[in-house]
């Protein structure tokens, strides 16, 4: 608990520390020389839209830690274009209205170069129109399909995390071939849940399977047992993707409902991000399968990139904070922050970015990106960016929960996550 007694938003302090670090760095010769070599030693300011309060706060905390870790590494290595990076954090309360206000604050008050870091899709949808009107590059880390669906604008990109559509498409072959053909889906009655429902139903049909029941749970629900009898008896696989603080209850009650005889269960780890898998009530999940954006537990064949990333963020082998084993990270999502920051860096370097006047060049430079090799900058895996849809694609992992830990048993390749373009943002005006 010592960790959590710090202010809820250590980012602001982090930003100060980053600045202080930059100042200290400026005193030592090599860094000083590098910054002085740039046309301006003014920091590059990245506005970080953080879910510090509201329903997304558990994610926001780890998005913040990842952001700070990547930023301090980038600064140690000389910053971007010879300038230090400063993170300007604003809490959006996980609310679309406040999100839009925060974007305005970044652009007009803090003079940020770019906005970055939003997770919840309704906040992205509420904020992106303002980012477009203010002509500020807006890098979201949301896994929503909003960017690639064409609903947003030329200024909004998602280069660090795959969208829900490609995640879901890549899962269907495994589910139908390994677990069973008849699937019941349980998901929140949110747009995000509907995306799962629609894309997965389609993909299962294409893989010779069938979704036989779809249970959309209202978002404020806190007790679930009453819905489980709607699961058809012939169900072979349950597919669950729940979000919010009630997910533990959901899993626990599902276990109590089925007792000893359960079907196969496949879930998105979103249901249990930031949750300790040894929590009471989760014993039931032993032997079930999970999608993971990035494996929470260090795997036997761990890459040096994962080790580097894990150590920098301060996450141990089991995916918990090195300071507190009960403080479990949102490991399957937060890599997106790390990778997005490195994309911003690469984009600014390619565009020769000097200041807000070069924002358009930055977007064009990002649109020109294609392959991103598996590396310290992209620890989750090798990726491909689609400049037309502003969306990145990458490998997906399926893990089995055994002996209280998640071990990867299947990796869906990059190609399995592709789908036809739905938009060409490069044809739209700035």
């Amino acid at each position: 608990m010592s960790e959590s007694f710090k202010p809820a938003d250590p980012a602001r302090r982090g930003a100060l520390k980053t600045l202080a670090g930059a100042a200290a760095g400026a005193a030592s010769l090599p860094l000083w020389a590098r910054y002085a070599g740039a046309q301006s030693a003014e920091p590059i300011r990245i506005g970080f839209q953080m879910h510090a309060t509201g329903i997304g706060a558990a994610y926001g905390r780890w998005y913040d830690r990842t952001t700070r870790a990547a930023t301090s590494l980038i600064n140690e290595a000389g910053g971007i274009n010879g300038r230090p990076v400063e993170i300007v954090t604003e809490d959006d309360g996980t609310d679309p209205k406040r999100g839009a206000e925060v974007v305005e604050k970044f652009a007009n008050q803090h003079n940020c170069d770019v906005g970055y870091g939003t997770l919840f899709s309704h906040v992205v949808m509420g904020s992106a129109p303002r980012a477009g009107e203010l002509k500020m590059p807006y890098f979201v880390v949301s896994e929503g399909h909003h960017v690639a669906s064409g609903a947003l604008n030329r200024w909004t990109v998602q280069p660090g995390i795959c969208d829900v559509k490609s995640q879901v498409l890549a899962m269907a072959p495994f589910v139908s071939q390994t677990l069973g053909k008849k699937v019941t889906m349980i998901f929140p009655d949110y747009a995000f849940g509907h995306d799962h429902r629609d894309f997965f139903s389609e993909a299962m049909a294409a893989n010779g399977g069938e979704v036989i029941a779809k249970l959309a749970i209202p978002p404020t629900e806190t007790s679930f047992t009453k819905y489980f009898p709607k699961i058809p008896r012939e169900t072979e696989v349950i597919y669950h993707v729940m979000v919010g603080p009630a997910v533990l209850t959901f899993v626990k009650e599902m276990g109590e409902f089925f007792g000893p005889s359960r079907p196969e269960i496949f879930g998105f780890i979103d249901s249990l991000e930031a949750v300790d898998l040894s929590s009471p009530g989760l014993e039931f999940l032993e032997g079930t399968y999970f999608w993971e954006g990035m494996p929470r537990y260090a795997q036997p064949d761990q890459t040096p990139y994962d080790a580097h990333y894990r150590a920098a963020v301060g996450v141990d082998e089991t995916g918990a904070s090195v300071n507190d084993p009960k403080d479990v990270s949102t490991y399957a999502h937060m890599f997106g922050c790390w990778e997005t920051l490195y994309v911003i860096k690469a984009g600014m370097e390619a565009a020769g970015y000097q200041g807000p006047a070069d924002r358009q060049k930055l977007i064009e430079a990002v649109e020109a990106m294609t392959d991103m090799p598996h590396s310290n900058e992209h620890p989750q895996g090798a990726k491909r960016f689609n400049g037309k849809t502003h969306q990145v694609f990458g490998p997906q992992y399926i893990s089995k929960l055994e002996g209280g830990r998640l071990d990867v048993i299947h990796t869906a390749s990059l190609e399995e996550t592709f789908y036809p373009d739905e938009v060409d943002y490069t044809a739209r005006s700035f």
Partner: protein, 308 residues
């Protein structure tokens, strides 16, 4: 699942919801009935009860039973004391003006949420139940050879959920005895009927108010402790609970403890049972409208007396 067993299962789940709701709403009803103020922060007292249950259970150690029992004692006491302090320092100075109390308790809600977020964090954390056996339930079916018992797929409840129902009934019975059979209860009811008259008769109204506010909060906290092994402690859990218990109090009829309990059962059960017939979100809409229409056609609530 067959219709009969499904209905039984949904009713049992509804009963658990109703039990927790009744406890929480009884606290709110007391505050509302005696002091005539809307306490927007009531849900936060419920949340604090759940969060403190986690804190106490983690600090005590020595198995889930000991931790849970300690939480059951400590959390309501602490929360009750906190609420009484808030009453003396803030609400009293507002003269219990209904509108100003709303703003002040919204302020209190912000403060409590932010402090919990800073001290406890944004995660949902579980507390291990003291016992939690899964009890499969039988169902009767008339076959060729007369009635037959069988165990339908999925029809079960846990021993802890049964305990929650029992505990709520016991606490509510205790509360009723306290209000009707003790001197303090009598004083509270006198204050409820006419505060000025009570004061004239030498009843220390200020102390009664602080006591009522504390007792109401303690009941909410108790509900929080009871629910936390089923749900989890989370800093935003108070909002939904506040709305539901507020609804229960008004549907039941102001100041009627019996009405509050009946309304809690009605709302908890209808939420469970309606979910049998419709898709989940539609069921929620129908249940919500149904309850609203109870009030539209019976504006004083189920057991409400004529307005004074």
């Amino acid at each position: 699942m067959d219709f009969g067993p499904y209905l039984l299962l949904a009713s049992l789940e509804g009963a658990v919801t109703a039990a927790v709701l009744a406890l929480m709403a009884a606290g709110l009803s007391l505050v509302f009935g005696v002091m005539r103020v809307v306490n927007v922060a009531h849900g936060e007292f419920y949340m604090l009860g759940a969060v403190l249950a986690w804190v106490v259970a983690s600090a005590v150690g020595g198995g889930p039973v000991l931790g849970f029992v300690a939480a059951l004692v400590v959390a309501p006491l602490l929360v009750g004391a906190l609420a009484a302090a808030a009453d003396v320092t803030v609400l009293k100075r507002l003269d219990y003006d209904p509108e100003r109390t709303i703003v002040a308790t919204i302020g209190l809600l912000y403060i409590l949420q932010q402090l919990t977020l800073m001290g406890y964090g944004p995660e949902a954390r579980p507390v291990a139940p003291p016992f939690n056996a899964r009890l499969a339930l039988p169902w009767v079916e008339w076959g060729d050879a007369g009635p037959q018992l069988y165990w339908p797929w999925g029809l079960s409840i846990t021993s802890y959920k049964l305990f929650v129902i029992g505990a709520a009934v016991a606490v509510l019975a205790g509360l009723w005895l306290f209000m009707t059979r003790t001197r303090v209860g009598l004083v509270m009811r006198a204050t409820q009927l006419d505060g000025e008259m009570a004061q004239a008769f030498g009843i220390p109204v200020e102390r009664v108010y602080a006591g009522v506010f504390g007792l109401g909060a303690a009941l909410a906290a108790l509900a929080g402790v009871l629910i936390v092994p089923i749900q989890q402690a989370h800093y935003l859990m108070g909002g939904e609970a506040l709305l539901l218990s507020f609804i229960v109090v008004i549907i039941g009829g102001l100041g009627s403890l019996a009405g509050t309990v009946i309304a809690a059962v009605l709302i908890g059960m209808s939420d469970g049972i309606i979910s049998v017939f419709f898709s989940p979100t539609l069921a929620k809409i129908i249940a919500t409208l149904l309850v609203a229409f109870v009030l539209v056609f019976r504006p004083r609530g189920l057991m409400g007396k004529a307005a004074r």
